[in-house]
Symmetry: D2
Subunit: 326 residues, 4 copies
């Protein structure tokens, strides 16, 4: 292998820079040229790149965001877009392409396999942690930490006012963030896809109202609901309205939003990104169409199709802990 | 003085606990009994209280929220409500009442003066920093710090995606938080009451659009707008819509919300709260109807009317710094 | 089971309060009386205790330290001490005792087995992470996080001055903290028991000096050495002296010390402590002499002897990552 | 003015980068060329520099350290060194030199006045806050914040073990950090130059011991001593030894050290650095030998001699607060 390219693609996640650093240093140690393309697949289409050196990546381990920028790339849904990516890779004589991103980015890899014969390696980075074949994705731990500390602050006000708060957290269509943050902040209620199937929202509403009213009868205290985004019709505001309309329960809303994507990665994400990055270069010698993951403490390589086809469920143990304590 | 009562009233602010601690320790040193009433004026109406001891307040300096709880109290807008507060104070033989809160809480003090002859002392605590007669209110510095660190995280994503972000910060009807946070985060634009009078929003819109388009032409980069709450019609979402409809500019929205109210107070707020708390007890021997403030490094006592009648403007210097750099 | 007692023992670790909370809430749900004894085994000797209620533990999840206090207890090395503990447990009709602590605390449990027939359950809590039979101990993740953020700050100065820094981290006689923190901060060198056996210190010294000199020749830059406590003769100051005496290399020293023990637990420790606490109550119905652990995502119960007899080695993968990148 | 040069000199302080950014952007707006020299005065002696552009400084506001590096420069104590600095400045046709640093750096400015006729402007940046003619120096607020949060963590352990802790903080020969951190952390004792003249250490020791013993008699609780560096013979370890030898009081030691110098600047330091930086460029048109300061909310220009000749005392109010509460 003489030349390896990297992109960061899709939603950014804390630790992407740490993965870039590990890949660049690893390539350097092995005498492989390392090219970074900007803006995800867009940079491959428009041939926007630079050669990455150890000096460039030395200081970036601790920074959020990505020095290679990221972007969605609608052109990857067209044959022409994919062909242009392949052309750029050939022009630069790239042997292997490492894609740091989530499942959308990995689907781009699969499309590219038809037009490019180089080796394709995926490194899972998304705060949502919804990819199979890895216990944790890069950025998840930091997002949980950021949301947890935010809710710690909200709890101060909730306690001072003995008030109901609805806090909406990210996670797209999975509840990894919601459940972990909910447990870490002693949320009185966690509402997520896993325990609130859309068919049961009416039921969920009633039991939530009962839970709030029971608690308010027993003692003055705060009540924090951690709500997964995309779950409730109308989001956090919709739920607030529902509580008010149905049971005259007042509540305050906080949508944590983009703060969950940024910030200096926590040690877990720095180390995970470093391990996955090194292993990606290792794998790029001999494999293609694989995602690097870490399961039960061991680095693994899994077919990219397996990693994207199924969503990783929220740990059953987390569910039962939540049920025990509420 | 034999007996002093405390309430925390209105929106909670980080450092309220530090003020309570200072007052209690100061009373203890002087042999004054210190009574805390819960839930702001409500606790005075319903006679919900406890005697505060040094042991209770020793560990609370560093905690957000308020151990005395807080609340709005609509009954204080009625004569009956105010009379009931006076009754409770007389029943407990309270000599002085210290109210820790913002301008709404201080207006309650003024109403109370007609029905109660004890001494009334105000301690300014609100994250909005909109009270006159003090350079800074308790909680302001922490709120600025929390919002600043949140936008630092958002900047990571903004940079990675070279995107426009609209971040709405608190401040009710004044721009202290907006301007300080804007400068501290190198916001490309700060939109607040002071530089965007409601009559000029059309003009503001056009020059904002021009600024964004100029920057986007010159270089790929992020653009962060810090927006004061209650300023733009429809808030941050309204501004997003406006930018999109008028100039086809896409943007992302983040409403920081309640995280700005909570959290462990920063050292500035801990020290300010401690100084104001001690001085409040000192003042309670001889004065009434005054707010304790700190201006230009000196503790002062000002008539509560002066403190609430006028709003403290945002420092002119801050304006001009912002203009120099953008 | 009608009555369960808890102590926190040995060095405190962030997350101990979260474990207490989980145990108390879990007992409450099952109708078991829960008694907390203060100051570790000392409180059992001197019968210093209180009945723990859900109200007491609701707010403590996020706080460092332990509401039950902790202490070393030399009397547990004597038969009389152990007998007195047994007496107190009998007097209170305790069915099960849960000990939250490290290996010293667990050895106390083993001694107690001879004099008390109740059930004994261990919950592993120590920042050192040196216990076998669990991937992580309560407090370890927070300690790594605190040390990492501290070194991030030190790196600023190290970079500004292009200087060599020796940063000593905790860990008693194992390198879990040193290796994880070293990787998370991109330390140029990690010196710990695992890669620096005492017989090889002379060799380590020479290769460290060579590494520093090579780097200083090639470019101006900082050099951070993460040093495990108890490793180098004279500690960090000893190593500084050695570098100066042997090779005229100047360096600055920072001993992170006790800040690593405290602080609000990170989400990982809050969740781990909650899971282990719940499982401890579950186990206390039927087992004794076991430690609750979590390995590869699963809660396990292991004989306390196995957990204390062997030390958990630092993950081999971590070693090899470090070697790849330096 | 066509050309302005900047150095950062002496101990680094959080906010130096914010000052550099403000100066560069301000120069850019005025059409002035801005040259940065590396490593303080050393870069001026060895002509190590680069032209600073807005693009370079846009992202640095929030970062600790200094992109221009810093260093002590012993050669500035010799005529030859100073002459070489003057030569470099002439060679680059520099009209004004802005020195960001502390009193040592400002003394270098004074020496330079004899050999160079350009304009010299000082911007006060040191965590010690010991410069006169400004209420606060750049970096002080961040250092207080870092030390405060560190002691918050130590307090957890101190409480858990009901133990005496001696925490040594920076400040060189003044107690600004010690007093502010001590108040912000509710330290039971603050030992600094201002309240412990070297002639009275014996007396201080006795009253400290009495204070500890009284508290230990009255209740189980922690006792935190904040100790200024360079005060006690043998530092924190010396004081620990003294307490042990004289009164058999056990204590634990923590020297916070270099973590106080680094880290992302807090909002106060970011804003102060920005204001001072802008004003420095303004002043550089017409003045020389002045330091820019901010007193009582107003930007001022003071003769550099006045700023360095006297040390700014710790606010008397802070003293008296401390006395009231302990």
């Amino acid at each position: 292998m003489e030349s390896l390219a990297i992109i960061t693609s899709g939603g950014d996640a804390p630790g992407m820079n740490a993965a870039i650093r590990a890949i660049v240093l690893s390539c350097h140690a092995k005498g492989i040229k390392c090219i970074g393309f900007y803006h995800g697949y867009n940079g491959l289409i428009e041939d926007e790149c630079l050669t990455l050196t150890p000096e460039m990546v030395r200081p970036i381990l601790q920074y959020g965001g990505t020095i290679l920028k990221s972007a969605r790339c609608p052109q990857m849904h067209t044959d022409d877009g994919v062909k242009n990516v392949a052309k750029t890779l050939k022009r630069h004589k790239v042997d292997s392409l490492v894609v740091i991103g989530g499942d959308g980015s990995f689907r781009g890899m699969m499309a590219l396999q038809s037009y490019w014969s180089g080796r394709l390696i995926g490194v899972p980075a998304t705060i949502d942690n919804d990819l199979a074949c890895t216990d944790s994705t890069i950025g998840f731990s930091t997002a949980v930490s950021t949301a947890t500390h935010a809710i710690d602050k909200i709890r101060d006000t909730a306690n001072a006012f003995e008030r109901v708060f609805i806090v909406e957290v990210m996670g797209r269509h999975s509840g990894h963030i919601a459940f972990n943050v909910g447990l870490a902040t002693a949320a009185e209620s966690i509402l997520s896809f896993e325990n609130c199937p859309s068919s049961s929202l009416e039921q969920v509403k009633l039991s939530l109202i009962e839970q709030i009213q029971t608690q308010q009868k027993n003692n003055h205290t705060s009540f924090v609901i951690v709500l997964a985004e995309n779950l409730w019709p109308g989001g956090a505001q919709g739920l607030k309205q529902t509580l008010n309309d149905t049971a005259n329960i007042e509540s305050a809303v906080c949508v944590l939003g983009y703060i969950q994507r940024g910030g200096s990665p926590c040690p877990e994400d720095r180390i995970l990104a470093t391990e996955l990055g090194i292993e990606a270069v290792e794998a790029a010698y001999s494999e293609s169409g694989v995602m690097i993951g870490k399961e039960q403490g061991k680095l693994i390589r899994r077919c990219i199709i397996a990693a994207t086809e199924q969503k990783k469920p929220v740990d059953q143990a987390i569910h039962s802990v939540y049920q025990t304590l509420t």
